[in-house]
């Protein structure tokens, strides 16, 4: 779209819209709780790793598998590494993998949904059968097979999670596209001589964007959980520490047998909290964006 409105005006407009959005959102307790949780974790992932050291203890056996103390807030693992430091460093990988995979999922889902809904007919039938296949195949075995085939690396994990999680989004975007492409302004756009690509980018995409946005939040929660699952099952990259990887090592090295609860529980709680944070925000957005659900 052209910049008829100059940059300053656009900024003022955006500020106005955001302000009114925030005005409704801030009254939603659940949404605020979710936001607080995610902001804490985001800060932890951004600046936390610069404040902690996560190295094996050189001194000896007495530093290994220590319960929480003033020196090690969450105790130490089998190599004498600080569990708290692990949680902080792991947050970065967990969040980055989750968010990157979400971006891939949303791009695939949006493109397939819009193209399928817009063109219809044979292309729609083909793309939707493909979507159905991805919807019905149990995603965990599929991810495991793909991860095993591609080999353990961070990039592959992102890819695997990304290309298994788009099907639901594609379905939702397609149905909305079906409704929007029949609106008179799309017919007008065709009448002024716009091509298909132009119509999809400038007229359909902006109108399905709220849906894409709301879906992103929920897909992100699943993606982070998937990363943890894959890493826990040993499909992750062993050189990059994530929460799933910590759980994997803890389980492998027999944290349960040692009764080292401080090693197992913190990464688990972190995963649960992040997923909870995303889910809270998802529910809150639903309430804010859908006037029918809005409480007065």
């Amino acid at each position: 779209m052209l910049q008829i409105v100059n940059r300053k005006d656009r900024f003022i407009l955006l500020k106005k819209n955001l302000a009114s959005f925030w005005g409704i959102y801030r009254r939603n307790t659940m949404g605020i709780a979710g936001l607080v949780i995610l902001v804490c974790f985001a800060l932890m992932a951004l600046i936390g790793p610069y404040f902690v050291t996560y190295t094996s203890a050189a001194e000896g056996i007495e530093k290994v598998l220590q319960p929480p103390s003033a020196e090690h807030w969450l105790g130490t693992d089998d190599l004498g590494r600080d569990v708290f430091a692990g949680v902080v460093i792991g947050s970065r990988i967990s969040l980055v993998v989750g968010l990157a995979a979400t971006v891939i999922s949303m791009v695939i889902g949006a493109v397939i949904g819009i193209v399928s809904g817009y063109y219809g007919k044979t292309l729609d039938a083909l793309l939707m059968r493909l979507t159905d296949i991805f919807l019905v195949i149990p995603w965990l075995p599929l991810m495991l097979v793909m991860a095993a085939l591609l080999g353990p690396s961070l990039g592959n994990i992102i890819l695997v999670i990304g290309i298994t999680g788009w099907a639901g989004t594609a379905r939702i975007i397609r149905s909305q596209t079906l409704s929007i492409k029949e609106r008179p302004y799309v017919e007008r756009a065709r009448a002024i001589g716009s091509g298909d690509l132009h119509i999809m980018l400038h007229h359909i995409l902006p109108n399905v964007f709220p849906l894409i946005f709301a879906n992103t939040i929920l897909v992100a929660a699943v993606a982070i959980l998937s990363e943890t699952t894959l890493s826990f099952l040993g499909m992750g990259d062993p050189t990059s520490i994530s929460w799933g990887m910590m759980l994997h090592f803890a389980f492998e090295m027999g944290a349960v047998a040692f009764g080292a609860w401080w090693w197992l529980i913190p990464p688990g709680i972190c995963v649960v909290l992040v997923v909870l944070g995303f889910t809270f925000i998802g529910y809150a957005l639903d309430e804010v964006l859908n006037p029918k659900l809005r409480r007065r």
Partner: protein
């Protein structure tokens, strides 16, 4: 040479139940700077004609035959890519219901600039200036280019649609009921604006409406459609004062006369025929008060009454013969 020459245009819709003969054997022509009114009841095929001219008919419809010549160029056989260039640059349309023809997520200015960007390859700055000029032309405050459609009133939205229609100085503009759903004052403004612009840029205009007074005010010629066919075509004044077809007469009688006595406007008994199964012969014979036996069997020929005035009716051909 006529700007637009339509000959024997036939457009059918394919439905599960059968074929809807929405537009059959339509012929008309429009000269440069001339305004043609296309009138008829709802579902008489007016919009189908308009969409066929731009080749914007729905997927289940197709142009079966005939020719559409715009400035000597044949449009029926033109490819979609060729049509994309012709649309708006040479022939544009003011859509029925401007409320919905604007995308709610873009500013009105952006949507008009979109046209200029596609067809004239203008830079952002030029397009911005042209959009402001267009707003001035249609008497909207140019500063409102940055507003969204919901911030416009109905009349302003319609004027914005007109601004969009004339953005590339097209040779022909089709107004598909541009004044329906507007109050009388705004309607008058919009019509005046169209008339003024027509003289200014010398464009041809096809005005589709079911409001005869609008046609009387703005159009040089009028074509009366009934059940997918043009039953009468001629200069507005002639058709209004000396209608040749019984349907035109009935249509005019259904319109209250401001100077006449206070009588109930007469309506035409019956309903328009179902175009899935159009009646044989003249399509109007079921409701015609002057029906003769041949009307039920034979399609009436088009009779030339005098050089610009045509009508299709058996009564006329009988009169010509005798």
């Amino acid at each position: 040479m006529a700007l637009l020459e339509v000959n024997d245009l036939t457009t059918y819709y394919k439905l599960k139940e059968g074929t809807v003969k929405a537009c059959e054997g339509v012929s008309l022509h429009v000269d440069k700077g001339e305004a043609l009114g296309l009138v008829g009841e709802s579902a008489s095929g007016k919009t189908t004609v308009a969409l066929s001219l731009m080749k914007l008919i729905p997927e289940n419809a197709s142009i079966i035959g005939g020719s559409i010549k715009l400035d000597g160029k044949e449009l029926v056989t033109a490819t979609e890519e060729e049509m994309q260039k012709i649309r708006w640059k040479e022939i544009s349309i003011i859509f029925q219901g401007a409320m919905n023809a604007l995308n709610p997520v873009h500013t009105v200015g952006d949507q008009i600039a979109e046209v200029l960007k596609i067809h004239e390859k203008l830079t952002d700055k030029e397009a911005r200036q042209r959009t402001r000029d267009l707003f001035e032309k249609v008497e909207i405050d140019p500063d409102r280019v940055r507003e969204y459609p919901h911030e416009f009133s109905g009349g302003m939205r319609q004027r914005a649609m007109i601004a969009m229609a004339i953005a590339c100085n097209p040779k022909l503009v089709i107004g598909d009921e541009p004044t329906t759903a507007l109050d009388v004052m705004v309607q008058a403004q919009v019509l005046q604006l169209l008339h003024h612009l027509r003289q200014e840029i010398d464009m041809g205009l096809i005005l589709i409406t079911h409001d005869l007074s609008v046609v009387g005010e703005t159009c040089d010629k009028v074509a009366v459609m009934y059940a997918g066919r043009i039953v009468e075509l001629g200069p507005t004044e002639t058709v209004f004062t000396r209608p040749a077809h019984p349907y035109t007469r009935a249509l005019l009688a259904a319109f209250p006369d401001i100077e006449g006595e206070r009588t109930m406007a007469s309506s035409i008994p019956g309903n328009p025929p179902n175009l899935l199964y159009p009646p044989p012969g003249c399509r109007f014979h079921e409701r015609c008060s002057e029906v003769i036996p041949v009307c039920r069997e034979e399609q009436p020929p088009t009779i030339t009454i005098n050089d610009q005035h045509y009508a299709s009716c058996h009564l006329l051909s009988r009169r010509v013969k005798s």
